[in-house]
Subunit: 200 residues, 2 copies
Amino acid sequence: METTNIKRLRDFVTAFASLLDQNPKEPEILEKGSELLRELIKTDDWLPNEFAQPHPQYYQQYLLHSDSLERFSVVSFVWGPGQTTPIHNHTVWGLVGVLRGAEFAQNYQEQEGHLLKSGNVETLTQGRVEPVSPTVGDLHKVSNAFDDQVSISIHVYGANIGAVNRSVFYEDGSSKPFISGYSNKVIPNIWDRSVELRTN
Amino acid sequence: METTNIKRLRDFVTAFASLLDQNPKEPEILEKGSELLRELIKTDDWLPNEFAQPHPQYYQQYLLHSDSLERFSVVSFVWGPGQTTPIHNHTVWGLVGVLRGAEFAQNYQEQEGHLLKSGNVETLTQGRVEPVSPTVGDLHKVSNAFDDQVSISIHVYGANIGAVNRSVFYEDGSSKPFISGYSNKVIPNIWDRSVELRTN
Ligand SMILES: [Fe+3]
Ligand SMILES: [Fe+3]
Ligand SMILES: [Mg+2]
């Protein structure tokens, strides 16, 4: 693996865990968590290449960290050119922060068994952070804004998101169960602080 | 990576985190934690090969899990034939459980600036769990009991052990600072429960 500034990810995990350790309510998590995520994605020098690889057919979801009690997880989403998610929900709070490239996000709401677009397509450029949750709006579809380059966003969720029972939705309002899993068998070791410690 | 029963490691991490979440005192951590570790090492079908590889010269320390706030860590120690640690301390509680092979453990105590052997060499066979800590005895030297095969033990510590400021000691009582770090750049993703969940 190439040398990356993995300390940024470690500091983010530590800060997010400290925030959640105070048992804040969702609005505070979304507000303070967004600040932390904005800081993380401001500089694109820390994500190991192994967790930035697109797949020719499918968008990839690389787990970067899960809390011991699955209180939160951090995931790298990698979209190849033109790739898109289905319309889906989360059932827990989440934050989406664009690290590389740009994404289109379309929100939806359910009304009398039908799905309606909620607002216009938003273009999320590098550095933007957007929340999702059953409270602030939980249904969306996210796409790579580019058809000729990879886009990557870093997501944080209030659960081990790959193991959450969720749903994908179709325009006619029908849905089916969805458990995303993860694309990776190994995650980065962000915890080796020995080089830094020996230097200090 | 080969298929392994990684669920055992995930269940161990979850159970250990739940134990620590109740803020138990050290004796309870050592007692209940030993039970959990004995259960984990009873069956040798879950450690991915990548984290069971010896090095020709050095014993290896593969991080398997670190808690978000570094409250505990789980590490796979892999000894090649005849390999040994120096005499060292931990400064935090720890549990050593032998998963594969066998190990020799010699405890030490410091007395008037000298190191004295404390008890005889113990042979830790597969399935044995031993505690360390400043309270119950923090100085020891651990060796592979075999000169012709690999031995592996699974360790749990009350910190991110690779980043702890520790010491190695010499028989004359002198010591030098020691920060172990880790041998691995990636750790196992123990959090993908999607296959199990879809089957249920
Ligand atoms: Fe989403
Ligand atoms: Fe030790
Ligand atoms: Mg918005």
